[in-house]
């Protein structure tokens, strides 16, 4: 069993006058039962062609049926260095947000069905991203709908 720990700190000295912001959180990435660590990892660096929709990782396309609905985590960092370059990302064919040069994100991902692939698309210019998936083969509790 692998033990992977994720920690985040968010700080600001000038967001609120007289009050520094300091948020800290940490968790161990677990399978659905919260007692066993995630066991599957995929990581790498890939190039995204301009304006070309790409699905991240083999997990996005090779799972079927209930196997989709597993505990998964995704880290992405846009390694672009030009401030105007960004990549869009989305799920269920719905755009969620964009990562500009140097920005990163860390999200849970429910690949609940065939349409739930994480999709990424470079804008302005081709870009390179760094990513890591952490996931399990343990099916989550059904969505409440």
């Amino acid at each position: 069993m692998a033990t992977t720990t994720a920690s985040v700190s968010i700080s600001s000295g000038d967001l609120i006058p007289g009050s520094n912001l300091s948020i800290n959180a940490s968790s161990t990435l677990m399978k659905a039962g919260l007692t066993t660590g995630l066991t599957q990892v995929e990581s790498g660096v890939i190039s995204l062609a301009l304006d070309t929709d790409s699905k991240l990782g083999p997990l996005a396309t090779e799972m079927s049926g209930d196997v989709h609905d597993i505990a998964s985590w995704l880290y992405i960092c846009n390694k672009a260095t030009d401030d105007t370059h960004y990549m869009d990302f989305g799920i269920h064919n719905t755009n969620m947000g964009r990562l500009y040069a140097g920005d990163w994100m860390f999200i849970p991902w429910n690949a609940s069905d065939d349409d739930a692939a994480i999709e990424v698309e470079a804008k302005i210019a081709a870009q390179t991203i760094e990513y890591a998936f952490f996931n399990s083969n343990f099916i989550l509790t059904a969505d409440a709908g």
Partner: protein
């Protein structure tokens, strides 16, 4: 205008045959609107728990954490909570104690972010910051 500095650290001694241990940080420029660290009891209807309203394409950074507490404040280690785009588009699930940090913008679709407890109401913590710049 303010500067927000988020830092992520991932480490594992046994996920790979080599040790994983890295940190990445960023400097984000933020403007109004922002929502300071807040709590919400999320029930099983996502539309009741919209934490980021449709923002007309503003780049917004969102932090969400499952507090591991039930609606009454007692410890809850069982019930999950989905992170959704408004309109019930599920993106991921937070289990008790877990967190996420991501950029969000409706990209012309007038979308926001909502929370939907999977089985029973849970207490969630969240905050967001915007750069108020149309995307």
């Amino acid at each position: 205008m303010a500067t927000l500095t988020p830092t992520l650290t991932l480490n594992s001694a046994d996920a790979f045959s080599d040790v994983v241990n890295f940190s990445i940080t960023d400097d984000l420029t933020t403007k109004a609107p922002s929502q300071s660290l807040s709590t919400i009891v999320a029930d099983t209807t996502g539309a009741n728990n919209i934490i980021v309203a449709a923002n007309d394409d503003k780049q917004t950074w969102v932090f969400i954490r499952h507090t591991g507490k039930a609606a009454d404040g007692t410890t809850d280690t069982a019930n999950h909570c989905d992170i959704e785009i408004t309109g019930d588009v599920a993106a991921g699930t937070l289990k008790p104690g877990e967190f996420c940090f991501f950029p969000f913008c409706g990209n012309g679709a007038s979308k926001g972010v909502q929370l939907q407890a999977v089985s029973a109401s849970v207490t969630m913590e969240y905050a967001y910051w915007s750069d108020n710049t149309a995307q």
